[in-house]
Amino acid sequence: MATVSFRKIEKAYGPVKVIHGIGFDIADGEFVVLVGPSGCGKSTLLRMLAGLEEITGGEILIDDKVVNDLESKDRDIAMVFQSYALYPHMTVRDNMAFSLKLRKADAKLTAERVENAARILNLGALLDRYPKELSGGQRQRVAMGRAIVRDPKVFLFDEPLSNLDAKLRVAMRAEIKALHQRLKTTTVYVTHDQIEAMTMADRIVVMHDGIIEQIGTPLELYDRPGNLFVAQFIGSPAMNVFEGVLQREGGVMSVSALGALWPVAGLSGGSHGQKVHYGIRPGDLTLADAGIAAEVVVVEPTGAETELLLQVGSGATAQQLILVMHGRTDAQPGQTVHLAIDGAMAHVFDGQGGQRL
């Protein structure tokens, strides 16, 4: 159990700076997910916490103690690697016991811890097998078992699910989450998959090009993305975004774009005539009898939901939007439909910096 703090962390490989002064705190027992596109520095940040990469600038603290110059093994952290990194020549039991063996732990205690971890992860029957005799999901569980046995202050996960197939990934996602709820160990989890981040995290740190774009709970990020990058990164299908001009007439605000007026509500800033990006999530667009006209391009029924690809406007300014609705629709490609929008659901971002207005 521990807190983790990053203070103005910088990382450079020679002259190339990849992390530009990142700072945030992780509370005791919190499950924090670092998410971002590849190359954003999230894995590097995790590896610096793990002690596998030198820290160019700033400080990392575990339990208020600076660990910059501590060896990995002295930081009391355990890591689950993307490739599992199981020792191929050792049985599952030996893999899990390895760290305790190196610490010269009592044999009885070691056996107890391994049995316990095996029970938690349902690995009991596999203890005497070798990694090559296990399936991907089982290997992943052994890698987690190896971390659990250590009973570390912090768990680190480096894209642990990306080598698994889609179905297994969903199952393991739930397992890791359940494991965290049971053990309540502070966890830092790196992924490029925003759905993993949304479903697992207590708090998400969205990173991009070596800086933090936004930190917040999954729903905060979803409901109030702080900038255009977060808005487009979080959520699936991605938010519809297009350019427009802010209109302020009387007390009513709207954005004029694609030959129509798009409603806006609850805006804190922004001035009349300002260039903006207008964003609306696919689930917040609804079909109505009257409203903004759009042409149906593709209809994709998935059973419970239907996804419509729509085209608004015409010619060079035409924009394709995605609409997701519950249930079914009679709409056919080529048909014109009308969109109703709740202004409170709209997201407006500055046309220049992309900050939320």
């Binding site: 002690g51 596998l52 355990a78 690697f81 990194a85 020792y87 760290s99």
Partner: protein, 284 residues
């Protein structure tokens, strides 16, 4: 089955045979003569028969019981060969494994330099180095001491072994080292508990290679050792030819005996040899 034999398959088979048969003959004919001489009596050996009329094992009796002038020290010399080859294999393994681990896994500064220098040694044929080596060993007072041959062979075998092991080391997943480091392993524990067990196939290949290199060495053994009690059997075999009427049948019988251990070793470890020596050949 015979219906499935298309013309294409037949021609492929034929091409293989066309290459295979000459290679097979090329390899087997000297061995055949070796065996033929070894089981023939003194007068019969050069008679030109494909198979001796009275095959005999008497030559082996001569060899094993040291019943000939040239064979006075057979068992001592055989022992020397075993000792020297074993020592060369062991020391080369130790040197090459340590070097490969330090360069490949610990990323030691200057590792590339060492690798390039190791490669550079092979620009100069070993025979050219024989005289300098002789002089060096003389400076250290090691001439006619078996350590001189052991050290010389380790010197010759190591660079290649370092290369093979370095290439094989590079293929081990880096995450294993990181996982071990996080598990609390020191570099020495990493070496002993993770690296060595995973390198076994390459280690066997490299150990066998250096062992056989030393076992088959003639030039350096001939130069550096002179006493009959110190030389290896390979040199002793050479002595057979110093007289006009060499006892060919005994030479061949001894040669056959000398050829058996490498054959046995190769057979036992061939699984590793092929895998290990090609393992470092291409960078995947």
């Amino acid at each position: 089955m015979s219906k499935g034999l298309t013309l294409k398959k037949v021609s492929t088979e034929a091409k293989l045979l066309l290459i295979g048969i000459p290679v097979f003959l090329w390899t087997i004919i000297p061995v055949y003569h070796l065996v033929l001489f070894a089981i023939s009596g003194r007068d019969e050996a050069t008679s030109g028969h494909l198979w001796p009329k009275n095959p005999t094992l008497q030559n082996f009796d001569f060899v094993f019981n040291q019943k000939h002038f040239y064979l006075d020290h057979f068992w001592v010399q055989m022992g020397n060969s075993v000792l020297i080859a074993g020592a060369v294999g062991a020391i080369t393994l130790f040197v090459a494994t340590s070097a490969a681990f330090a360069i490949s896994r610990l990323k030691l500064a200057g590792g590339r330099w060492v690798m390039n220098l190791a490669l550079f040694t092979y620009f100069i044929p070993a025979a050219f180095l024989a005289v300098p080596m002789y002089k060096t060993m003389g400076n250290y007072g090691l001439l006619n001491n078996q350590w001189s041959l052991i050290l010389a062979m380790v010197t010759i075998a190591s660079p290649y072994c370092i290369w093979v092991l370095k290439q094989a080391s590079d293929k081990l997943p880096w995450e294993l080292d990181e996982a071990a480091r996080m598990d609390g392993a020191t570099p020495l524990q990493l070496f002993r508990l993770v690296y060595l067990p995973l390198m076994v196939p390459s280690l066997v290949a490299v150990g066998t290679y250096s062992l056989l290199l030393a076992w088959n060495e003639y030039l350096y053994a001939f130069l550096l050792l002179s006493n009959d009690n110190k030389v290896t059997l390979a040199v002793a075999l050479g002595h057979f030819l110093s007289a006009d009427d060499s006892p060919w049948e005994l030479l061949m019988a001894t040669g056959l005996i000398y050829a058996l251990p490498p054959a046995a070793i190769y057979y036992a470890f061939k699984r590793y040899m092929v895998g290990g020596l090609t393992a470092g050949a291409v960078k995947s």
